[in-house]
């Protein structure tokens, strides 16, 4: 089936199967920054933004995204680069596998919440698991990026 999407601002048409998930559609079309960590919406590594909201692309049917704006980390390059600077400063880079998904979620949070508290940040990102950093370095980096105390 043909699927029309706007990926990072560009109009795209992909051939998809009716039961295909957005993660596979994107990876099959060379958006390899979107990654598979689990298969059941548990880890957050496959996060992309659909119309600005973070979704787990491993469980999001591609056809559901028909006509919508899909954003991968390449679509927020400038903000991701800024956040990367703070991650580096805090030793939070680590393996990097989940970092594009964290960047996308932080970007969505920044649009949604004004001056989030520690608890609000943790709650917003709770679905983004990380096994390397112990979260604290990420937390410090995200706060520095958001310029909140």
């Amino acid at each position: 089936m043909k699927l029309k999407l706007i990926v990072n601002g560009e109009n795209k048409t992909f051939d998809v199967k009716p039961d295909e998930y957005l993660l596979d559609t994107l990876r099959n079309n060379n958006y390899v920054s979107v990654r598979r960590g689990c298969d059941n919406t548990s880890c957050g590594v496959c996060t992309v933004l659909v119309d600005g909201k973070p979704v787990a692309s491993c469980s999001y049917l591609s056809l559901k995204a028909e006509g919508r704006n899909v954003t991968t980390v390449e679509g927020i390059a400038e903000e991701a680069a800024k956040l990367a600077g703070f991650f580096g400063e805090e030793g939070a880079d680590q393996c990097g596998f989940c970092n594009p998904s964290v960047a996308l979620t932080v970007y969505a949070m920044k649009k949604e919440l004004k001056n989030p508290t520690d608890d609000e940040i943790r709650s917003y990102l709770v679905g983004n698991l990380c096994r390397c950093s112990g979260y604290m370095g990420q937390h410090r980096a995200i706060k520095a990026y958001l310029e909140v105390d």
Binding site: V32, S33, R35, R36, G37, C38, D39, N40, S42, C43, V45, T72, V73, E74, A77, A80, A81, L83, A84, G85, F87, G88, E89, E90, G91, A92, D93, Q94, C95, G96, F97, C98, N99, P100, A103, R122, S123, L125, V126, N128, L129, C130, R131, C132, S133, G134, Y135, M136, G137, Q138, H139
Partner: protein, 773 residues
């Protein structure tokens, strides 16, 4: 120091955050065959018949492989020194399947759906056996998990497959029975640790292709590219010289990738079809069909005198290696060798036991590697002993623990599956770590408990820990440094960056030696064709072992630059200096840039390249003290972690921010093992916790405060004073949190994890007995 002990962002951090392709599956050849594995539904069975004809006939299926397609060559998948101290008990494919998720057959097809469909078309008839699921009943069980005649050990490790024993070990110092008999107080108790899953975010991933020279090229998400090459060659009986293993960026390992998993099967498919092939483990496969941490039972006796002098430690351990014996002996030994020397003033020590096979998912390497299990048992037992003695647990440790300048006879007796190496502690800042940790947690105000008056009680607990820095006289790292025209360098290393940042810190070490900015050092690592040998990322090796190799190579390169500079300037080498920018001797001066261009384009043309390697002559332990404050709800038993303080002596931190990240990440994995994580099975041996919904790792909501600091410390034998830091962070949380819960509510948890249910049961038992909390 100009570049060492200064913060550096990871060299790959920004690129990876911005989504650059770099991981194994990002680099698979387009159109690769998809490799899928048919896995055993039974915990223990023999394949009576297997018919693949229907699967092979399916359009799009390229090849189907079963045990009939492979020779009987038993190997170990453990990536460790050679000859390996693990039993050779695994075939590429076998007619026996020994755990749910074990490999039955392999199908490769043009896409995932076809490969999965092919698996469904394979007809298998099993003879199902009674499995051994309880490791405490494995020894001498009538079910023999490894009846195959080919199973063998590379050197004596105590393998006794007829008794389900993968390895066994015993050591003793002094006469422990006599010592304990003479003690004023003897504590005797038992602890059990659970299986823990690694849950690295990137599943095990591998792809293979045959290149234009007819060589097999593997991209693998591995911690041990050189060991992987050796094991694949052995298993497939294929020339090692025709295999190239490339390790791209790796999405976490924690020991889970210190082994060979899909590599053998994907290689077999590529070799037999001549086509590129790839495999990405599903998360279920990662859980059921790779490794988890060895569960262990500790029967421990500690003997002390009234004055609080620890006299003897007697530890009997039973370890569950699951269906195969990867790392069986060495993990077991680390539960003693990197734990018991903490108390080096004892008269007698005994450490004995068996590592048994069961029909569970195999156990393997996992950060901490026995030390976390042993630390939980010993450091909890020490608190129990202190209570018996009526002694403060901090004072007891300060009185009995190892100090700078001291040694323990255990270092010489226990090594990596063999005898060890005697060494003195050139650096051991445990005294400072304890003092500072007490300040950070507020020990004096908070010990032992504070009743909040609302049914909640807060308590604090502590423990000390040690690890190692590589495996002396066995594990080697090496480095090449190449000077380029325009005056920049390539640092070419076998060392394996799996996200811990070794590429970054090794470049810092090279920069420090050469006096050039780290930006002038371009790192390329972990490619078995192009980089020199390195054992890989395990055993807290890289900073100390590979770091020393880099330092030696960089020092050599600096000397070469001085010699060539002196030659170009027509001055004697003596008195010639290189400051990172210019080579000078008195008034004579040539810049590195000009010298490089001269060397490559103009005069006396030659390539400057320096190579060196390093193998440890000892394994200086990093040390740490851990402290936690917990809050226990006495109505529900729920335990919340309020604060964790860790003060670490790892010598110089090459990059303080990356070292801190290592400790923070280790702590949270240790907290996960202490409080949340538990690999559980059904009565028939099927893993229940085979996805990330049922297997729960800590989220960022549970981790509120980690206070990590480093002691001032300089290890002379390490590169710029460094010891390693990869594992030490994980060791303390199980004991620390157990002790804190006890101090809060008087309930001692003897089996991990510390769940609310266990704590509440303990509280209720105490209430029934009329004991005060």
């Amino acid at each position: 120091m100009k570049y060492v002990n200064h913060k550096r962002p990871s060299i790959d951090g920004k690129g990876l955050m911005m989504g650059k392709p770099g991981y194994t599956d990002d680099l698979a050849e387009q159109g690769s065959l998809i490799v899928k594995v048919l896995r055993s539904p039974h915990a223990f069975a023999r394949i009576k018949t297997i018919d693949t004809s229907k699967a092979e006939a399916l359009e799009g299926v390229e090849i189907v492989l079963t045990y009939k397609d492979f020779g009987r060559v038993p190997v170990t998948r453990a990536g460790q020194g050679y000859p390996e101290p693990s039993p050779h008990d695994k075939f590429v494919l076998d007619s026996y399947v020994r755990h749910v998720g074990d490999e039955v057959a392999v199908a490769a097809a043009i896409n995932k759906e076809t490969a999965e469909e092919a698996l469904k078309l394979i007809d298998v008839e099993y003879e199902v056996f009674e499995p051994v699921l309880d490791y405490e009943k494995a020894y001498g069980n009538k079910t023999i998990i490894h009846p195959e005649p080919e199973i063998h050990e590379m050197f004596p490790i105590g393998l006794d497959p007829k008794k389900n024993v993968a390895a066994s070990y015993n050591m003793h110092i002094g006469d422990i029975d006599k010592t304990l008999a003479e003690c004023d107080t003897v504590l005797e108790t038992t602890f059990r640790t659970q299986a823990q899953a690694h849950v690295m975010m990137e599943p095990h991933t591998v792809n293979a292709r045959i290149d234009y020279q007819g060589r097999l090229v593997l991209y693998s998400s591995t911690q041990t590219p050189f060991h992987t090459r050796r094991i694949v060659a052995e298993a497939l009986q294929y020339p090692l010289s025709k295999i190239r293993v490339i390790k791209p960026r790796v999405g976490g390992g924690f020991g889970g990738k210190q082994c060979v998993h899909g590599e053998m099967l994907v290689s077999a498919v590529a070799l037999r079809t001549g086509k590129p092939a790839k495999m990405v483990y599903t998360r279920q496969e990662v859980f059921e069909s790779t490794f988890s941490r060895h569960p262990m039972r500790f029967d421990i006796k500690l003997g002390a005198m009234k004055d609080g002098t620890l006299k003897g430690m007697d530890v009997k351990v039973l370890s569950d290696t699951g269906a195969y014996g990867e790392h069986a002996l060495t993990v077991f030994m680390v539960a003693g060798s990197k734990v018991l020397p903490l108390y080096n003033k004892v008269d007698s020590v005994r450490f004995t036991g068996d590592i048994v096979y069961t029909n569970r998912t195999p156990a393997g390497a996992f950060r901490g590697y026995g030390a976390i299990q042993g630390n939980y048992a010993l450091e909890t037992a020490v608190d129990m002993l202190c209570e018996k003695l009526g002694m403060d647990p901090v004072e007891f440790r300060q009185k009995n623990m190892i100090n700078e300048g001291e040694t323990s006879p255990i270092f010489e007796i226990m090594g990596e599956g063999t005898a060890g190496t005697a060494m003195y502690m050139e650096t051991c800042k445990l005294d400072y770590c304890i003092e500072r940790g007490m300040e950070l947690i507020g020990w004096k105000e908070k010990y032992p408990r504070k009743d909040l008056g609302n049914g909640k009680v807060r308590g604090v607990g502590m423990a000390i820990a040690m690890q190692g820095s590589g495996i002396p006289y066995i594990d080697m790292g090496s480095a090449m440094i190449k000077l380029n025209d325009d005056g920049f360098f390539n640092l070419i290393i076998g060392a394996t960056d799996i996200g811990q940042g070794s590429d970054t810190i090794l470049a810092q070490i090279a920069a420090e030696s050469l006096g050039v900015h780290p930006d002038k050092i371009v790192v390329y690592s972990s490619d078995s064709d192009l980089t020199p040998f390195d054992c890989g990322a395990y055993a807290s090796s890289t900073t100390y072992v590979s770091g020393n190799a880099v330092r030696k190579a960089a020092d050599k390169m600096k000397m070469m630059i001085i010699e060539e500079g002196a030659h170009a300037l027509e001055v004697p080498v003596e008195g010639t200096e290189f400051d990172g920018t210019d080579i000078t001797n008195g008034e004579s001066k040539i810049s590195l840039k000009d010298l490089s261009n001269r060397l490559y384009y103009n005069e006396d043309q030659k390539q400057l390249i320096a190579v060196d390697s390093y193998v440890g002559k000892k394994s200086p332990p990093p040390f740490m003290a851990g402290f936690a404050e917990v809050e226990v709800d006495t109505n529900t038993g729920k335990v919340e972690l309020i604060d964790y303080a860790a003060v670490v002596d790892c010598g110089t931190t090459i990059s303080p921010n990356l070292a801190r990240g290592q400790v923070e990440g280790g702590l949270v994995q240790g907290i996960g093992m202490a409080m949340y994580e538990d690999v559980r099975y059904s009565g028939s041996g099927k893993m229940i916790t085979n996805n990330m919904m049922t297997y729960r790792i800590p989220t960022r909501k549970e981790i509120r405060s980690l206070k990590v600091e480093f002691a001032e410390s300089y290890e002379e034998s390490g590169p710029y004073g460094a010891k390693s830091v990869g594992e030490i962070g994980i060791d303390t949380p199980p004991a620390v949190i157990t002790n804190a819960v006890y101090n809060a509510v008087g309930v001692r948890i003897h089996s991990l994890p510390i769940t609310g249910e266990k704590v509440l049961m303990g509280i209720m038992e105490k209430r029934q007995k009329g004991e005060k909390q």
